[in-house]
Structures are given as structure tokens and as C-alpha cells.
């Protein structure tokens, strides 16, 4: 019998999976090429600087929404929002912020400005896009400067410790985040208020009331970023900030995250389609634009395959997860992202009562590690089989931390003993981090010490998952991604192309008339 530091996985089969995934990605590429959405257009406006809001029918309504609604009403969306902003600027002689203020204060309507000379408009539009793009590049440089100046835990060659805060009040979140960082957390995720992904606008301002989480707003991003930067200085450690970039404002959240220096975004159209019933076309188009922004801003995207395991038997659904990871990889590559920016997601979600479950979990985690060698994998703790027995829960989390260390995952989404009871108390999070500190510190470098039996149970399981994923990808390629979603290939959920929330926000565009220079500036392969 032979032992090796890696599992004996067929490189030919892995390459074949990638080839098929590229073919599957073609369907999404065609969709992105020939359509835009109200969300993507609002993101363009936000990139240009339209990030204020106006009081409208008792709501604080973002100007980006207001402007896109104006363009929709005047049937001008097909040229893209940028075109009509440039048109309005030329015709009025105003700057962006003056135009925004006139919209807010005087109800100025960019949908009603007479069309200016087309080539002049296009020239200005291109200039505006370039200016905004340069700003993003500048923001990224500021962040990478900070990472160099402070100690960056990524250099420690151990998984990052990621914990959530979810009080609903951004100021209380800061308190909880500070304590977590002092205990040793590397990344803070501010959980969003329940169902924010279904809002078709981004709320404005700092917020102190949320449900099961805190609203993702630009002001909240800024407040937490500032707190973590200050704390990072004190601790001489770069602390990463995470939020959620899915749902109806996917690409807009990406813009706000880029402007406010976030490091990670949970970003996965498939999650929105399957678990939030967002219209598939809407969110796949928005996802592409959001990933362009993430790539340029060096924000790691975190994909949501871990969720499939919560709805299906995780021991049986490894093929769906792997197939989806390949599809997500292609979508990110098409948006010009690097593998180092892809925090490909998966989880330890098999039923803990299965015999040899730990062997199978190691097999899947190691397999994923080997198939995506450059990606900082996002590894999620068990949540599905947690009940309220906080002590057993803590034991499961310990095993999770160990497998994460043993298989060199990129980011560990630490489990909380009180998972399935409440959003974490200060002490729950502290216990969770102490657990991870012990395991990660105590097992540092352990993966270099052991090998896998080539004919062992772990190898066999991993090989089977890869084989099954290859078969599944072939089937998906045969019928197309959208059709396979309808046919319940993922997570046992069926969604149709026309169904779901936000379908009305998708519209066809002709590339020769539609203006969005960000695609080219940001290195889109579509």
C-alpha cells in the first residue's frame, strides 16, 4: 500500500470537469451579453457617485433607484444609465453631485432631457467611467497598503478565523466585533437583517434595528470598517470585514463594499435562485457585474455551495457541490477574477451520527483543497444537525476546526455552540474562538506530517465524488444550466427562468446601443 501527501485524484477528470464547466458558462455569458438589469444600472450609477437618498413617500429612497425608475418610465434603459447621465451632464453643464442634488431637491428628471450629440455623450460617458474606475483602483491600493503595513494573518499559513456578529444594531455589533478580534478573530461578518436580499433598494444610513441581523448600508459598512481598522492598528493585525452580496441589490452592494473597503463578500447567484427565490436571469446578470467590481477591488468572493448540503444529505450531495464550484469558478474567471480571490464555499454538514463520518468529511475537504489549489476555500461549520445541545455542538465544532486545519482550508466560518438557539452572545463567540485558537495553533503544519492511503476509504470516497460530479456536469451541459435548475439538480429545489423575485427588472440590450464601459475597464471576458 502506498501513502501520499495528496489523494489520488485523476487530473484528467478534473480537467474534463473544467472544460465542461466552461461550456456551461457559455449560456450565462450569452445571457449577460444580451441583457442588463435595473440592479446593474443602479450599480453603475453608484460607481459614478450617486449614493445619496431622497425622502419619497415617507421612505428614504436611494437616488440610484430614483434615476433608474425615471429612465425606465421614459423607456431609456436600453442605452444604459451611464449614457443618459452623461447626456444630462452635457445638456445642463452640471457635475455629478450637482445633478444628484437637483434630482433630490427639484425632482429633475434625466429621462426627459433632450438627447445630445451621441458621440459627445459617449465620449463623456467613457471619461466618467474611467474616473470612477481609477477611484476603485485607488481604494484597493489603500487597502493593500494597510495589509502590508500591519501583520496579515494570511501569511501565517493557517485558516482564517471568521465569526459573525448579528445584533441588529451596528453600534452593538462594533462592541461584539471588538471583543471577537481581541479573542483572535481574523474576519468579522455582519449578518444582514432577515430578508434584506429581497429588498429592491439598499437602505440608507446607520441602523440600530434589524431582525436577526443588521442592515447592510454604506454608512454601516463605514462604521464597522473604521472600528476594525482602529482595532487592527492597536493589535498590529489586519482585520477583514465581510458582508453579503446576494439578492436584488447584488451588484450595488459590491460597489458600496468596494467604496468602504470590505474584504470579503458572500456572493453567489445560485444561492439567491435556490434559497431566496430570486429570478435566475436577474441574479446571474447582477452577479457578473458584482464580480467585475470584486475583482478590481480585490474583494474575495465567497460562494454558497455549503447551502446545498443543508437541504440534501451532505454525504450524497458532494457531486452537486463540486459541480457548482466548477460553474462558479468559470463565472468568476469570466469576470476577470483570480483564483486567489475565489473563496470557493463548502461545508462540514454530514450527519454526525454516521459511522466514519469524520473520514468522509476529511475526504471531501481534502478533495476540494486539491481541485482548487490556489483558492482560499471557505469552509463552513455544521449547522444542520445542531439542536440546542450546546455542549455536543461545541464538540462538533472542535472536529470541524481540526479538519479545517488538517486540510488547509482558507477561511473557517467558526461554529457557535448556540447555533440553532440564538444569534451568538458575546460568550458563545468567545468560546468558539478559543476552541479555534487551540486547534489551529496546536495542529499547525499537521498536514505535512501525514499521508493518505491510495487504496483507503478516504481516497475512494473522494474519487467517487469527483466521478459523480463529472457525470452531473455532463448532464447539466446537455440540458443547460437554467433548465437543470428547473429540474432540481441543485439542492432539490426547482426554479424557473421566468419565476422568482426581480424578474421584471431584467431587460434586453443591444451591445451596439448599450453603453457600459466598466465591462471593458474591469476586464470582463464577456
Amino acid at each position: 500500500m502506498a501513502y501520499s501527501a495528496t489523494l489520488p485524484l485523476s487530473t484528467r477528470k478534473i480537467a474534463r470537469c473544467r472544460e465542461i464547466a466552461r461550456s456551461i458558462g457559455g449560456e450565462v455569458a450569452e445571457l449577460v451579453e444580451s441583457h442588463s438589469t435595473v440592479g446593474t444600472e443602479r450599480a453603475v450609477l453608484r460607481l459614478l457617485g450617486f449614493n445619496d437618498a431622497l425622502q419619497w413617500e415617507g421612505l428614504l429612497f436611494p437616488t440610484s433607484n430614483f434615476l433608474v425608475d425615471q429612465l425606465k418610465a421614459s423607456e431609456r434603459l436600453n442605452e444604459g444609465a451611464l449614457f443618459w447621465v452623461a447626456n444630462a451632464l452635457l445638456s445642463t453643464g452640471l457635475g455629478i453631485s450637482e445633478l444628484e442634488q437637483r434630482t433630490i431637491k427639484e425632482g429633475f428628471d434625466i429621462g426627459k432631457v433632450a438627447p445630445f450629440d451621441k458621440s459627445k455623450v459617449a465620449k463623456l460617458a467613457n471619461q466618467l467611467a474611467k474616473d470612477s474606475f481609477r477611484k476603485l483602483v485607488q481604494y484597493r491600493k489603500t487597502r493593500s497598503g494597510l495589509k502590508r503595513k500591519l501583520h496579515d494573518p494570511v501569511s501565517e499559513k493557517r485558516p482564517l478565523k471568521y465569526v459573525i456578529v448579528a445584533t441588529g444594531n451596528i453600534f452593538e455589533d462594533v462592541t461584539q466585533a471588538r471583543a471577537a478580534v481581541m479573542d483572535g478573530a481574523d474576519a468579522i461578518a455582519v449578518i444582514r437583517s432577515t430578508a434584506q436580499s429581497l429588498l429592491d433598494y439598499v437602505p440608507q444610513g446607520t441602523t440600530t434595528e434589524g431582525f436577526g441581523g443588521t442592515y447592510a448600508t454604506q454608512a454601516n459598512f463605514r462604521l464597522m470598517r473604521q472600528a476594525l481598522d482602529e482595532l487592527g492598528q492597536e493589535q498590529n493585525r489586519y482585520i477583514r470585514l465581510t458582508n453579503y452580496c446576494s439578492g436584488l441589490c447584488m451588484s450595488e452592494i459590491a460597489v458600496l463594499a468596494a467604496l468602504e473597503g470590505l474584504d470579503f463578500l458572500l456572493n453567489d447567484a445560485m444561492y439567491g435562485i435556490l434559497f431566496r427565490d430570486i429570478n435566475p436571469r436577474r441574479t446571474l446578470i447582477d452577479q457578473h457585474f458584482s464580480r467585475l467590481i470584486c475583482g478590481v477591488s480585490d474583494i474575495w468572493i465567497m460562494t454558497g455551495e455549503d447551502n446545498y448540503m443543508k437541504t440534501t444529505d451532505a454525504k450524497e450531495s458532494g457531486d452537486q457541490v463540486l459541480a457548482s464550484q466548477f460553474i462558479n469558478e468559470v463565472a468568476a474567471l469570466n469576470a476577470g477574477m483570480t483564483h486567489e480571490q475565489m473563496s470557493i464555499g463548502h461545508a462540514m454538514e454530514m450527519d454526525p451520527s454516521y459511522k466514519k463520518v469524520i473520514l468522509y468529511e476529511i475526504a471531501r475537504a481534502q478533495m476540494t483543497r486539491q481541485i482548487f489549489p490556489k483558492c482560499p476555500l471557505k469552509y463552513m461549520c455544521n449547522t444542520k444537525y445542531k439542536t440546542g445541545d450546546i455542549f455536543t455542538s461545541h464538540a462538533v465544532d472542535t472536529v470541524f476546526n481540526f479538519i479545517g486545519s488538517f486540510t488547509q482550508q482558507g477561511v473557517l466560518l467558526l461554529g457557535m455552540p448556540t447555533e440553532a438557539v440564538h444569534t451568538p452572545f458575546l460568550q458563545d463567540r468567545s468560546l468558539s474562538i478559543r476552541n479555534a485558537n487551540y486547534i489551529l495553533n496546536g495542529s499547525l503544519g499537521i498536514s505535512n506530517e501525514f499521508g493518505y492511503r491510495s487504496d483507503g476509504e478516504i481516497s475512494r470516497f473522494a474519487q467517487k465524488v469527483l466521478d459523480d460530479a463529472l457525470k452531473l456536469l455532463e448532464k447539466i451541459d446537455g440540458m443547460g444550466l437554467l433548465k437543470s435548475i428547473e429540474k432540481r439538480y441543485f439542492a432539490d429545489v426547482s426554479r424557473t427562468v421566468e419565476g422568482g423575485k426581480g424578474a421584471a427588472g431584467v431587460f434586453p440590450v443591444e451591445r451596439k446601443n448599450y453603453l457600459n464601459p466598466f465591462f471593458e475597464l474591469m476586464g470582463s471576458k464577456i
Partner: protein, 266 residues
């Protein structure tokens, strides 16, 4: 000799019958100092415990101290006088439930669920209804025998009723997570009150769920059942199925044969 267990004076058990041993942990918003340790002891004593042992005190972040405490509980209750109405449902698997629905009910059972009022916490509702379910027990959406409408959170009570009427629902599932100022109780009352006003009080099987919802409370408020933390989708499914079967037995009523309209709205 082992002490006799006295059910008229029931206490927690550590290693000696009647010792009243309790373990607890909590955080105080102060630095972990000898003063904080004493404060923790005093707080636990204030709660009526004796033999207080602060087993562990450590620092969390800044200005927080975490405690693990063991103590004896001096108070007891008379177990023979505890009364809890129990939901006695058979434990069938989802496949068995689906099968019975096909054979006996002969049509999907229609459910409408919502979190009403200001409650935006759908975690309980989703745990029962969503595909993924809870603790490895799949959600009702996944059953072939249930047609589920999950209205989500912050649904006005009258909208919930309107929808249940429109969908010709067999059962309404109300989830109440938030319980500050007993808001769960008043929201539960609001549903039964509004149903009554519209003459619909007997139309639907009413099921409530939430961390502070008990079966006893639910019955008191006019519901058919209450489920709390730990309840699984299959528990709810079994209950609703049994109610449906009981209705079938009493009226022979399933849609195939149903002709007469109920008194209320349609």
C-alpha cells in the same frame, strides 16, 4: 444508601438525589477582577442559589468577564401537580405521511404560514416549511402531500387570513419568535379574534410555533396545537395529518366528495 426520590419535592440532580445541582454560565459587563468574582457570587445568591462555586472566570474582549458557575438550587416543585397537555402524535416518516395523504386524503393538504405583526424572524417558520428543514428533518415544502404557501415575515394578520381563504387552506401556521412584552400572545390572539369576526373560527386547523409558545398556551388561546424549540417539520406534519384524518372520519370530507360550503367566507 441512596436517598429516596421525592417527586413532591423535585430538584435538579448532580450526583446525589436531592442535591439541587445547577451549572450555569453568563457574562458580566465588567473586567474580570476579584470584585467581579464576588459580584457574580452575589448575583447568583440573589437568584436563590446556595453553595455557589465560581468554577471559571475569564476575560472576553475588553470590559467583559465570563463565568462558569455551579450552585445548589434550594427550591423545589411538586412534580405530581405539573400538568402539561401533550401532543400525542404518531411518529411517521415523511414518506409514510406522503403515502397516507395520497391514499386517504387524495389531494395535497394546503398550508399557509406566516410571521405576523412586526416579527421578522422567519427562522422557525422556515425551519418547518422550507425545503431544507431542521436537524436533518426535511421541511414541509419538500413533501409531495403538502402544498405550502410561506408568506414570510411581517405579514398583517388580515393578509394571512385573506391568503388562507384564497388558497382554500386546510391549516394556518403562525410563527412567533419575538416575545418581548408577550407580543407573541397578543399576535396569536389577534389571529383567532379576526377569524372569529369573519365567522372563520372553525375553518382552519390552527398551529402556532415559537420559542415561548407551548402546546398548553396554544390550546388556551384557541389553537389546535403549539410547537416550540426542538419541534421538527415531521412533528408538525404528523399533527396536521392526524387532524385531517380525524376530519375525514367525522365528515367524510375530502375535496373529491365535498359539496357543501362552510358558513363563512369562501
Amino acid at each position: 444508601m441512596k436517598a429516596e426520590l421525592d417527586l413532591k419535592s423535585l430538584k435538579p440532580y448532580g450526583d446525589t438525589t436531592g442535591d439541587g445541582s445547577v451549572q450555569m454560565s453568563f457574562t458580566l459587563p465588567v473586567e474580570p477582577t476579584p470584585k467581579a468574582r464576588e459580584a457574580a457570587t452575589l448575583i447568583v445568591r440573589e437568584w436563590g442559589f446556595t453553595d455557589i462555586k465560581i468554577a471559571h472566570m475569564s476575560k472576553i474582549g475588553e470590559n467583559y468577564a465570563f463565568f462558569v458557575v455551579f450552585a445548589r438550587c434550594g427550591k423545589s416543585i411538586d412534580y405530581t401537580k405539573v400538568h402539561v397537555p401533550e401532543l400525542s402524535t404518531e411518529k411517521r416518516t415523511y414518506k409514510e405521511i406522503d403515502q397516507i395523504i395520497v391514499v386517504k386524503i387524495k389531494r395535497p393538504i394546503r398550508l399557509v404560514g406566516a410571521c405576523t405583526g412586526y416579527d421578522a424572524h422567519t427562522v422557525g417558520l422556515d425551519a418547518i416549511l422550507n425545503m431544507k428543514g431542521f436537524d436533518g428533518d426535511i421541511g414541509l415544502e419538500r413533501y409531495r402531500g403538502f402544498r405550502v404557501v410561506n408568506m414570510g415575515s411581517q405579514v398583517p394578520t388580515s393578509d394571512l387570513i385573506d391568503r388562507a381563504v384564497k388558497e382554500k387552506a386546510d391549516a394556518i401556521l403562525l410563527s412567533k419568535i419575538v416575545s418581548q412584552k408577550d407580543i407573541h400572545v397578543s399576535d396569536m390572539r389577534e389571529l383567532t379574534g379576526k377569524l372569529k369576526k369573519r365567522g372563520l373560527e372553525n375553518r382552519f386547523i390552527l398551529v402556532a410555533g415559537g420559542p415561548r409558545v407551548t402546546h398548553k398556551l396554544a390550546l388556551e388561546l384557541g389553537y389546535d396545537a403549539g410547537f416550540t424549540i426542538g419541534a421538527r417539520p415531521s412533528d408538525v406534519a404528523n399533527f396536521i395529518l392526524e387532524k385531517m384524518l380525524a376530519k375525514l372520519d367525522s365528515t367524510g370530507d375530502n375535496e373529491g366528495t365535498k359539496k357543501k360550503k362552510s358558513k363563512g367566507e369562501t
